[in-house]
């Protein structure tokens, strides 16, 4: 994860900005080469999408399901 993304995520956590958290953790997952690391970040994105009732939850769930993680 880049320093910039890390900072953006911390800021989103501080602000309780779930939209930014979903986007940030999805980006973090997309930049991983290791599937376990990617699923770690996808999990976070999925959880915040679930909490927010955000439609991205469906796609994130499908990506985790494809790896047998949900």
């Amino acid at each position: 994860m880049t320093g910039d993304l890390h900072a953006r995520l911390l800021s989103a956590h501080d602000a309780g900005d779930r939209g930014a958290l979903i986007a940030g953790y999805t980006t973090a997952a997309d930049t991983q080469t290791d599937v376990d690391a990617a699923c770690f970040f996808l999990t976070h994105a999925y959880v915040f999408a679930l909490e927010a009732g955000d439609t991205r939850a469906e796609t994130l769930h499908a990506r985790l399901a494809a790896e047998g993680r949900v």
Binding site: V35, L42, Y46, V47, F48, L50, E51, G53, R69, V70
Partner: protein, 382 residues
């Protein structure tokens, strides 16, 4: 064989000879806890009103006798009551009233629950990035639901889960007010208020259910509502209260009044009734409005009274409605000094629980008899 507690036996004597519950029932923390199980847990108690969660996803945490509960209107529009704790490590889930947009996420390890209480996500439960585990059956780990029932907008809960069905337990009360079993509408923000009283919850019940005090504590009623215009109501084991024969409708200068509830019989032209539903709900019905007071015991000597006023129509005149709420608030505030005074009186060593007027205190004694019986049953079962 159970041993009969002589103190409780005194409470259960005929009204003319009986004593009230002794001081410990008003001042002692361990007795307060005993009553949580014996008087609240076994049967149906009032928790809140459905109007507290008007929209889907509305969630209100409530500490009820120290028990963390969560009132929640689900995505399916059903109002439910859950224990407000995560099934993982028992963390409090919701710490302030708010709207649940999607799922309830535990702030500790982010286990997520649907608004129907189903466990829907267990992040990293099988290790980082692994969100399931063979030994973690989500279907068995939903939020713990508390049995509940809605009647007259009140959300009644049965903590033990063992009480008879609400309609059976309250059959006599429901039948008495069957004419009022029709739509009623919460008056909104200006028709709800809370009063904190430094007194045991039972004193609020005791004061509410009798008319004996009216001419002394509410002298404003004397001009038209004399003591002899009232009658006692005793529904053994469930409720007691009083009725009046001279209810006078509120009206403005132009003679406008609130609309009546539909189809009421002549009894209610000038009649009104006020019932304490044991253990902690106070209700009143009139031809044109009703109210509910839910007592939330916070400590042996502190109770919050949550007042809600209802009408027969969805819209009512703003000025009249505010006046009505103001009138009732004044009456309920006039009662505070007596319940707080009786509470302070319970610190007098050796007070024997007091006596009851055979003519006037039947409803109060009816409540004490109920409490004593429940306490006896509880102790016998231990």
């Amino acid at each position: 064989m159970s041993i009969i507690d002589p103190v409780l036996a005194n409470v259960q004597k005929p009204t003319a000879q009986a004593r009230g519950l002794p001081n410990a029932h008003y001042t002692d923390a361990s007795t307060f806890l005993e009553e949580r199980d014996a008087l609240f847990g076994v049967g149906w108690a009032g928790l809140a009103v459905a109007s507290d969660v008007p929209d889907r996803g509305d969630a209100v945490p409530i500490s009820f006798l120290g028990i963390p509960l969560l009132l929640l209107r689900g995505r399916d529009d059903v109002v439910r009551v859950f224990q407000n704790i995560c099934r993982h490590r028992g963390m409090i889930l919701v710490d302030a009233p708010r709207k649940i947009e999607g799922a309830i996420r535990c702030p500790y390890h982010s286990w997520c629950y649907s608004t129907q209480g189903k466990l829907v996500a267990t992040p990293h439960v099988g290790g980082p990035g692994f969100n399931t585990h063979d030994e973690m059956d989500r279907d068995t780990l939903g939020l713990i639901e508390v049995r509940s029932h809605i009647w007259r907008d009140i959300i009644w809960i049965n903590l033990s889960g063992q009480a008879p069905a609400f309609e059976d337990a309250m059959a006599d009360v429901i039948a008495r007010w069957a004419e009022f079993d029709q739509p009623m509408y919460h008056g909104g923000a200006d028709s709800r208020f809370s009063l904190t009283v430094n007194a045991n919850w039972k004193l609020a019940i005791e004061n509410y259910c009798e008319s004996y005090h009216l001419p002394w504590v509410h002298p404003g009623l004397n001009s038209y509502s004399r003591l002899e215009d009232h009658y006692n109501i005793e529904i053994e084991g469930a409720s007691s209260g009083q009725g009046t024969l001279v209810y006078r409708q509120l009206s403005d200068d132009a003679g406008n009044r609130f609309a009546d509830f539909d189809g009421l019989s002549d009894t209610w032209d000038a009649g009104a009734e006020y019932l304490s539903i044991f253990p902690n709900v106070l209700l009143g019905v009139h031809r044109d409005h009703a109210f509910a007071i839910i007592l939330q015991p916070e400590a042996p000597d502190r109770t919050v009274e949550h007042v809600h006023i209802y009408y027969a129509t969805d819209t009512t005149d703003d000025t009249l409605r505010v006046r009505n709420a103001g009138q009732w608030k004044l009456v309920f505030e006039e009662d505070i000094f007596v319940v707080e005074g009786m509470q302070r009186g319970r610190n007098a060593p050796g007070f024997d629980g007091g006596r009851f007027s055979p003519a006037m205190d039947g409803p109060t004694h009816c409540f004490h008899r109920w409490a004593a019986q429940r306490l006896s049953d509880h102790r016998a079962a231990e």
